[in-house]
């Protein structure tokens, strides 16, 4: 399988290829050859740092969508034990774009739920590229309630381009299913911890994300609209997606600055590829700390804290004088 390469990675890949070719054909004199190898290696390192330390939002989105990026099931198998999958919404289906069940995390018993995109093409189709139908959100709702009943914390992994925009999903109440999850999660009497591991595509992502603690991987994004969609609306051309991505302030660092998330999990240079080991320790620590803290709280406090977190989100201006003037006008009968 050819390695997937994002546009902005081409210069690095070119140099790497050149280096490899050189290594395969040691034709030059030994001294200049070794020097050339060293030079190339240094250049690659410098380039990598320059590219990956200065990623634009759009470039981060490429990494968040990278086909080799670890997915929910990879984290599940690395960080959790004794996973028992619970399937179905008890209504109309078992949406494979959302997977959930019971598991152990260190000493904790938890309900773990996440978007799964699928890796191979067959899996991608089965998991619908991580885009849930209403059935998936309703399965999640069932599991949220089950978790609350049995006093199990909910740990959710967000990684979806968004809720599936199709005919049946609309007919079966996509909007209502998402809204219902927002309401359920907000009021849940157990700890809820959400981790955005890749794509946080709008309401379809938020439907697993109303939590007491929200974390993001360094190259994950969270957005009200896809940059492509935003660009289509504002420029009439999705090619402006990179600019839209920049305008939307959708990266982890921005969201952390805005205090919309609680922490960022650092990724290796170039973003996660294939394996989760490089972030497992961080994730483990962050989750363990959150669970340890939150399981000490009672249900009311957990729901209240979640509400308070949401309650204060928003930036707006408040013109008390205007309001007063409006009131006066009314009294004067204008």
């Amino acid at each position: 399988m050819p390695k997937y390469i994002a546009d902005f990675e081409h210069p690095i890949v070119e140099l790497e290829k050149h280096l490899n070719d050189l290594k395969k054909n040691p034709s030059s004199t030994k001294k200049s050859y070794a020097r050339e190898i060293l030079r190339l290696e240094q250049e690659i390192d410098r380039l990598k740092v320059r590219v990956y330390r200065n990623l634009t939002p759009w470039q981060r989105i490429q990494l968040a969508r990278h086909p080799e990026r670890p997915q929910f099931l990879d984290y599940l198998s690395e960080l959790f034990q004794n996973f028992i999958e619970l399937r179905g919404d008890r209504l109309y289906g078992d949406d494979r774009a959302i997977i959930g069940g019971l598991a152990n995390f260190n000493n904790f018993r938890v309900m773990v739920i996440g978007n799964e995109k699928g890796r191979k093409i067959k899996d991608k189709l089965e998991h619908n590229f991580g885009m849930p139908h209403p059935s998936g959100y309703r399965k999640a709702a069932r599991l949220f309630r089950l978790a609350a009943k049995f006093h199990l914390p909910v740990v959710s992994f967000i990684d979806t381009p968004g809720a599936y925009p199709g005919i049946e999903s609309e007919e079966h109440g996509q909007a209502g299913a998402i809204a219902n999850n927002l309401r359920i999660l907000a009021g849940l009497k157990v700890p809820v911890i959400a981790i955005n591991i890749g794509e946080g595509g709008s309401g379809g992502a938020l439907a697993l994300g109303v939590a007491n603690r929200v974390f993001m991987m360094e190259n994950a994004y969270y957005s009200v609209i896809t940059p492509e969609g935003c660009a289509s609306i504002l420029w009439g051309d999705s090619a402006h997606a990179p600019e839209a991505a920049a305008a939307l302030a959708l990266t982890a660092d921005k969201l952390f600055k805005f205090k919309l998330i609680d922490g960022i999990i650092k990724e290796p240079l170039g973003g996660l590829r294939g394996e989760v080991l490089s972030v497992a320790a961080q994730l483990n620590e962050i989750l363990l700390a959150a669970l340890t803290e939150l399981t000490g709280w009672d249900g009311e406090k957990l729901a209240d804290e979640r509400y308070k977190r949401l309650r204060k989100i928003g930036v707006f201006s408040e013109d008390k004088f205007y309001e007063l003037a409006q009131g006066m006008r009314l009294i004067k009968g204008e």
Partner: protein, 290 residues
Amino acid sequence: MPIRDWFNKKKIRSPKQPTSKRTVPVGIWSKCADCNKIIYQKELFDNHFVCPECGHHYRLSAWQRIKLLTDPETFRETESGLSAKDPLKFKAGKTYAASLARAKKKSRLKEAVITGRGKINGVTVGLAVMDFNFIGGSMGSAVGEKIVRLIELSIAEKLPLIIVTSSGGARMQEGVFSLMQMAKTSAAIGRYQRFGLPYISILTNPTMGGVTASFASLADIIIAEPQALIGFAGPRIIEQTIKKKIPEGFQSSESMLKNGQIDMVVERGRLKSTVSTLLAMLTLGEAANA
């Protein structure tokens, strides 16, 4: 009229694709944007901006809607001083600041929702009405905040809650701040609903995206005006995804009714009386049960 006849009568109208951008034509006589018939402007006014020929429901401004629903002189606006900021210094093509300025001028509103107390046939309610003229009725921080403050006021004063939606969804120019208003408003509705107070939402053309996928869909009773466009994803995005044309009448009030997502489709002329009857049924008034 016997109930059986009434049932037979109110057949679902063959739904057609809702029209999304129709404003009232200007002039003494004008042509209906839907049926093309010539209509007398005054008649349209008197008919709550519903075409007397074809029943097309023209879009109402928030203040027109408030006039339609509340008893005269009873509406008192709350939080009128609240309006949008620009947390992201958003610029994509044009700036958010410019959009806001234009919207204010065009709509003569400070934001895309008006909230307040008002009476509906004598019953005081908490009322929010969105206005599509203000950046497509989109929900940003200020809209979310106004709605949540209205919900909290309605809890404090034990008022029934009525929200009339008309919105393209979340306001993208505020990024994740807008997205989070979905969770914030839904959470507030969840709190409100613990108190056994009735929440009625009225979906008008169009109600889409983050508004449908939050407070609008969480009402005890959901009413829609006829032939409104209601859904989560926009029709164009769906067509791009499924790579074929969407069927006739898809995402209309009538199909939402058929698909079990809303309680009823109510024509504008019967809206106030319907809400009033529902309030009488759901709140402890003079005809109490116990």
